[in-house]
Structures are given as structure tokens and as C-alpha cells.
């Protein structure tokens, strides 16, 4: 049942990033992997171009988000630059009626689930704690508490089992989250009930400043089989490999075989968030080495090599990205804050006399200013 690519413990995970399953080399050459090939045999060039377009659009959203934060228009931004293949490759495999439990960094997942610009900006601007309706997008409120969403995903999957549905749940968390009790408990529960859930560990090498070696002394994908969950360790910058792994994992979960685990080995090219300075904890050479593995240029090179990437397509994608980028900024700037009194809304679903009393007081207080302004 185990598809783990390697279980060999290594002393230094940073030298181990090439010990992954992949279908495209860094130069975009198609290579073969017997575990993965079959899962993307039907994937044609048009579909691959669509995935490439998604990645370009996500990178554009990300650069707009970074810029808006630097200009003081967003309170914070957690960049996804470098992780486009992992996010798009996993999220695009889900059906619309599946459910996603992402962390704060999965802008690409939220985009792939159908969010419009406001749907990935409002929370970062500080206008609300979430940017979209979870039930509309089939995507939970993005999670900041590290790893907590892995348990929510398993619970949702347990609900699917009780409903007799063939949906699956996917949840994303980072390498740092694998140290949390909740992620480990999630794997215990998922295995125990054989819940239809896919765990996607985005190993981007760092938990803020702490390298993955602080969280793990062996490849993270090696842990899942210990819980009775098959796993795969794939190149997270290879959209083909990520798609193949996710198709394997969702099929596994959807057909009643229980949970599956993917470790996508990738790299966060930017800071953890706009609040930190990665030059304090990462060297330039490392960054350059990863730049050579860029997920976008890799698939572009592959498409070019098979004659499926021409200037017209490139221009079209560029235009789509420009249009999206042009929409992000005014959407952000046009946001208006909810009225002051609304901060007391939605704490409870039903009336709560304690809070209702505070609301009455605050309303009267606010009304006092209104009367004063009229005088």
C-alpha cells in the first residue's frame, strides 16, 4: 500500500531535495517515473497549458499582494512565489464538490477554488477574518493556527463517510506543522476511520526562519506509513508530478481506501510573510539554486520542447495576468470597512444577552457622536 518514494533517513534534508519523484527535470525534460506516469497519461498539452496559465496568474496575484502590502494597502501578505506548482497542481485535481482546508499561504488553492480578487484580499487588508464564504467555494476559512486544519479536514471527511458520498477532502500544511500534535492526531484519526482525506505537506524548507531539519531528521513523507497511510514524496516544483501524485491520492481516498499523504518538496522564494527578512536566515546561493528549479519556466520549457508553447499563447497568458493584476488593485482600494457596531455581530449564531447588552451600550455611545455632529 505504501508508495513512499524513499524511507531512507538522511542527516541533512537540505541535501536531500533531489530524492523526490518527478516527471520534468529542472530544464523541462520529460522523464519517467513508474509510480507517476500512469496518473498523467491522459493529460494533454492543452490541460498543461491551462495549469501553466493558472500558475502565472497566481504569481501575478502574489506580486500584486506583495506590492499592495508594501504600499500600506494590506496589513500583511504571505507570499506563495515558488510554490505555484504545489498549490495549483493539488487544488486543480479536486472536484468542485470536494472540500479544501488550506493554511494562510494557500492563495493558489483559494484562487483555484474560484475566488475572485476580493476573495483573497479582504482578510489581508484587515477588513474581516476571512475573505470568502467557505460553503460557496467548498473551502474552509484559511487557517493561521499551525496544523489545526488537518483535524478539521479529517472531521469533514468523517461526515462524508456518514453521508455515503464519494467526495474527498484535502488539507494543506507546511513542514513546520508536521511537528504539531494536531497534524499527528489527524493522521491517527484518519487512519483509524479510513477517512477520505488527502494530506498535502508543502515542504517549503522553512518554518519562518527554522530550516526543515529542525522539524525532521528523515523525509517527512516517511512518517505517514507509520500511521498506516501511504505517502509520496514529489517534486513540488513539477506541475506534472504534483498533479500525478494528487490524482493518485484523491483516487485512493475517493475509492474507499482511506487517507493518503503527499510531501511536495518545494521552496518559498520570498519571506514567510511581509513582516520578516529572509536574508537573515537564508543565503543567496541557496535562493539561486532554487531559482533554477522555477516551476513556471520548467513547464514552459517542456511545452516549448514539444511545440506546444508559442508566442501567441505566451502573449495571451500575459494579457490574462495583466487583466487580473489590474483588477486586484482597484478591488483592494475600493474596499470599505463595515460599520463600527458590526464588530459585535456574528460572535454567536443565537442571541446572547451578555453581548446583546454590550451592543446596546455601544450603539448608544456611537449615537451620541452622531447627535453631537448634528449640533
Amino acid at each position: 500500500m505504501t508508495m513512499v518514494h524513499t524511507l531512507t533517513p538522511t542527516a541533512d534534508l537540505k541535501t536531500d531535495v533531489d530524492d523526490v519523484a518527478r516527471l520534468l527535470t529542472a530544464d523541462g525534460e520529460r522523464i519517467h517515473d513508474s509510480d507517476l506516469d500512469g496518473w498523467v497519461a491522459d493529460l494533454d498539452a492543452a490541460q498543461l497549458r491551462a495549469l501553466y496559465r493558472d500558475m502565472v496568474l497566481l504569481r501575478r496575484i502574489d506580486s500584486e499582494g506583495m506590492a499592495l502590502q508594501r504600499q500600506g494597502q494590506l496589513g500583511l501578505w504571505a507570499p506563495s512565489n515558488g510554490q505555484e506548482a504545489t498549490q495549483i497542481g493539488t487544488a486543480r485535481v479536486l472536484r468542485t464538490d470536494d472540500f479544501a482546508f488550506p493554511s494562510y499561504r494557500e492563495t493558489g488553492v483559494v484562487y483555484a477554488r474560484g475566488a475572485k480578487p476580493e476573495g483573497f484580499l479582504r482578510a489581508w487588508r484587515g477588513e474581516a477574518h476571512s475573505s470568502y464564504d467557505p460553503h460557496e467555494l467548498g473551502t474552509a476559512v484559511q487557517q493561521i493556527i499551525i496544523g489545526a486544519q488537518a483535524l478539521h479536514a479529517v472531521g469533514y471527511a468523517m461526515g462524508i463517510q456518514r453521508d455515503g458520498a464519494d467526495q474527498v477532502v484535502a488539507t494543506w500544511f507546511g513542514d513546520g506543522a508536521t511537528s504539531q500534535g494536531d497534524v499527528n492526531e489527524a493522521m491517527v484519526f484518519a487512519a483509524s476511520y479510513q477517512a477520505p482525506v488527502v494530506f498535502v505537506c508543502t515542504n517549503n524548507q522553512y518554518a519562518i526562519s527554522e530550516p526543515v531539519g529542525v522539524q525532521a531528521k528523515a523525509p517527512i513523507a516517511g512518517r505517514a506509513p507509520g500511521f498506516g497511510i501511504p505517502s509520496m514524496r514529489v517534486d513540488g516544483n513539477d506541475i506534472l508530478a504534483v498533479t500525478a501524485a494528487m490524482r493518485w491520492a484523491t483516487e485512493h481516498a475517493r475509492t474507499g481506501k482511506g487517507p493518503a499523504f503527499i510531501e511536495a518538496v518545494t521552496y518559498r522564494m520570498g519571506p514567510h510573510t511581509t513582516s520578516d527578512d529572509p536574508t537573515r536566515y537564508r543565503d543567496k546561493d541557496e535562493l539561486e539554486r532554487w531559482r533554477e528549479r522555477d516551476p513556471l519556466t520548467r513547464v514552459e520549457a517542456y511545452l516549448r520542447s514539444i511545440g506546444e508553447f508559442d508566442d501567441a499563447f505566451a502573449a495571451q497568458v500575459q494579457q490574462d495576468a495583466d487583466e487580473l493584476g489590474a483588477a486586484v488593485r482597484p478591488t483592494c482600494l475600493a474596499m470599505t470597512s463595515a460599520p463600527a457596531l458590526s464588530i459585535l455581530d456574528n460572535v454567536y449564531a443565537e442571541p446572547h444577552t451578555g453581548l446583546d447588552e454590550e451592543k446596546t451600550w455601544f450603539a448608544a455611545y456611537l449615537d451620541g457622536f452622531a447627535e453631537e455632529a448634528q449640533r
Binding site: 476571512s130 472531521g155 489527524a186 484519526f189 456574528n346 451578555g354
Partner: protein
């Protein structure tokens, strides 16, 4: 009306809630074949199956976190925490997710989770099995907190908690599990007192004694003894700790002018502090003397053989009553 123990009343409450709504399911450790360590879920797995009476792995955060996911999916999980002192591993999920998701999602996601906690001391239990963590939850916005004191309320309030669209922390006093009382199993929930309403357990005119949970019975005993001394105590069983029914509480304080709060949780920043602050804000000019707290000491829960020194007993409550009545205090004579 049927005479039932509180344990049996809770069992019956769960059974009826599950019969009424197939989205209700119960999760916890040892709740299936064993029927729970206190037998509150006795026989339920046989009736509803393992998909609805769910034996879980031994991981409290796991139980609470998966309940969040089930609620996302439209289920109404009832979570059994085996003992009060074991709720702390689940605390992060409760305060960060259960309590906040309705707010974080601007009302789009409901968390109708009932968190049942066998609670507090007086049963000679081992360490970590007699804690009173209610103040942590009362302090957490987004949660409702209730504490029951008799079989009828246990039955009714549990069903109200399960039907409520908000998360409810439901405290079950262990030392009352086997106490019997009349229960109307066919009570119409629509006619019953709402979950947030306090109950005047005993009407009186001299002192308002505020309490909840197992302390209600101790308070009632104290009131009986005080009556012999010509003191007429009004005992209020708060039932709901968040929100507190201040309408009932302030009406009583305006009548009596004197307030004693008793709970077995520690004093420092406990519920007594909150109750007295709120009562003082609302009723300052009606108070004849400073309000008094009669609580557990500010210590970790003591060993079983010594717990009687910690949980306020009848005499310590009467000592508090003496102080608000400005009577010479036969026991301590000191103002804390």
C-alpha cells in the same frame, strides 16, 4: 414524571436528541461498548451504531478538531471529554476554532458543538480528575457555558445545548451523577425555561446566594440551617455561566441588598469576581454591605483525602452569609 439519577437523565437526553435529529452524533473515549466511564452513553451505541456513537482515539485535540470538521459538514457533534482535567489538550481547538469560526466566517459557518465535561470534585478522584475550569471558557467569547445541578435541568438543558446553533460547554457535576430527582421526559422544549435563564432554587429576603452546579445543593443545605437562625436566604442556581441571567440576579440583589457567591473553583479571577463586579456595577446603591466570595482556595486541586478542606462546605458558606449580614463572625472574624 419519572424519578431518575442525573446520569440516567443525561443518557435519556442524548437518546432523544439523537432520535430527533440524525445529524447529532456523540464522540469520545470509551463511550461505545463501555458506555463511558460514568455510563452516560450506556446502551446508545447498541441503538444508534458506531457511526453515531463514535469511540475515538485517545487524543482530546483530535476529538475536538474532528468535531469542528463534522460541524463544517452540517453535523451536530456532542463531544464527551472524559474528565475536566483532560480538556486542556483540546483547549486550543476550543478557543481558536470552535469559539471563533462563526465570527471568523462572518456567520457563514456554524459550530453547533456540545462539549460535555464531567466536572469538579467531591468524588475522591485522582489528580487531574476534579478540576473546575469554567472561568477559562466563560472568558472565551463565542462559547456558551452551562452548569447543571439536578436531573431535570440536566435532561432539558442538554437537549437545548444540542439544539443550539452555538458551541456550548456543558458542565456535569460528578458528585451529583447519582443523585435522583423527578424528571419530565416528555417536557416540551419550547415551553421549558430558555437555556440562559437562572433558576431561583429557594426564595428568600435577607441574602442572595449565587451559585451553580454541585454547589447548589450545598447552598440549599446552608439556607436550611440559616433558616433556623432566622436568616432567609435566596439561592440562585445560575445554570448558565455565559451568558449570566443578570435580570434574575439583579432583581434578587435589589430585594435583599446582600450578596454571597460560592463556587468550588479557585478565587483568583474566578467567576465570583466577575459576578460581584457585574452585580456591583448594576446594584451598587442597593447593596447594604460588600459582597463576599466563598470559593475554593487558590491552589491546584488537593489530594482526595483533603479535598473537603477545599470545596466550600455549608459552614464556610454560612460564614460568608454572616459577613454580608455584618454579624459577629464566629469562624474567622477577618475581612479578606
Amino acid at each position: 414524571m419519572t424519578e431518575l439519577t442525573m446520569a440516567k437523565a443525561l443518557n435519556e437526553g442524548l437518546r432523544r436528541a439523537m432520535r430527533d435529529d440524525d445529524k447529532v452524533l456523540v464522540m469520545g473515549e470509551d463511550i461505545g461498548k463501555l458506555g463511558g466511564v460514568f455510563r452516560i452513553t450506556d446502551g446508545l451505541q447498541a441503538e444508534f451504531g458506531a457511526q453515531r456513537i463514535v469511540d475515538t482515539p485517545l487524543a482530546e485535540s483530535g476529538i475536538m478538531g474532528t468535531a469542528v470538521g463534522l460541524a463544517y459538514r452540517g453535523y451536530r457533534p456532542v463531544v464527551e471529554i472524559q474528565f475536566d482535567g483532560f480538556v486542556y489538550p483540546a483547549f486550543d481547538q476550543i478557543v481558536s476554532n470552535v469559539a471563533k469560526l462563526h465570527y471568523r466566517s462572518q456567520g457563514a459557518v456554524k459550530m453547533p458543538i456540545t462539549i460535555r465535561i464531567p466536572w469538579a470534585g467531591g468524588v475522591g478522584a485522582a489528580e487531574h480528575h476534579s478540576e473546575s475550569p469554567e472561568a477559562y471558557f466563560v472568558h472565551t467569547s463565542g462559547l456558551r457555558v452551562v452548569a447543571v445541578s439536578n436531573p431535570q435541568d440536566a435532561y432539558v438543558v442538554l437537549r437545548q445545548a444540542i439544539a443550539c446553533d452555538d458551541p456550548v460547554v456543558f458542565f456535569e457535576p460528578k458528585r451529583l451523577y447519582h443523585g435522583k430527582g423527578e424528571v419530565d421526559l416528555d417536557v416540551d422544549l419550547a415551553d421549558a425555561a430558555p437555556m440562559g435563564l437562572a433558576r431561583i432554587a429557594r426564595a428568600g429576603s435577607d441574602v442572595t446566594l449565587l451559585t451553580y452546579g454541585a454547589q447548589v445543593s450545598t447552598a440549599m443545605d446552608a439556607a436550611t440551617v440559616a433558616e433556623d437562625e432566622g436568616i432567609d436566604i435566596e439561592v440562585i442556581d445560575l445554570r448558565s455561566l455565559s451568558p449570566v441571567d443578570y435580570k434574575t440576579v439583579t432583581a434578587s440583589v435589589r430585594k435583599t441588598g446582600r450578596v454571597v457567591v460560592t463556587h468550588e473553583a479557585a478565587r483568583e479571577a474566578g467567576l465570583g469576581a466577575e459576578l460581584i463586579a457585574s452585580v456591583t456595577e448594576r446594584c451598587f446603591y442597593h447593596l447594604e454591605t460588600p459582597p463576599v466570595r466563598v470559593t475554593g482556595w487558590d491552589i491546584p486541586y488537593p489530594p482526595a483525602k483533603l479535598e473537603k478542606n477545599h470545596v466550600p462546605d455549608l459552614d464556610r458558606i454560612l460564614d460568608g452569609v454572616d459577613r454580608v449580614l455584618d454579624r459577629p463572625n464566629s469562624l474567622t472574624g477577618v475581612e479578606l
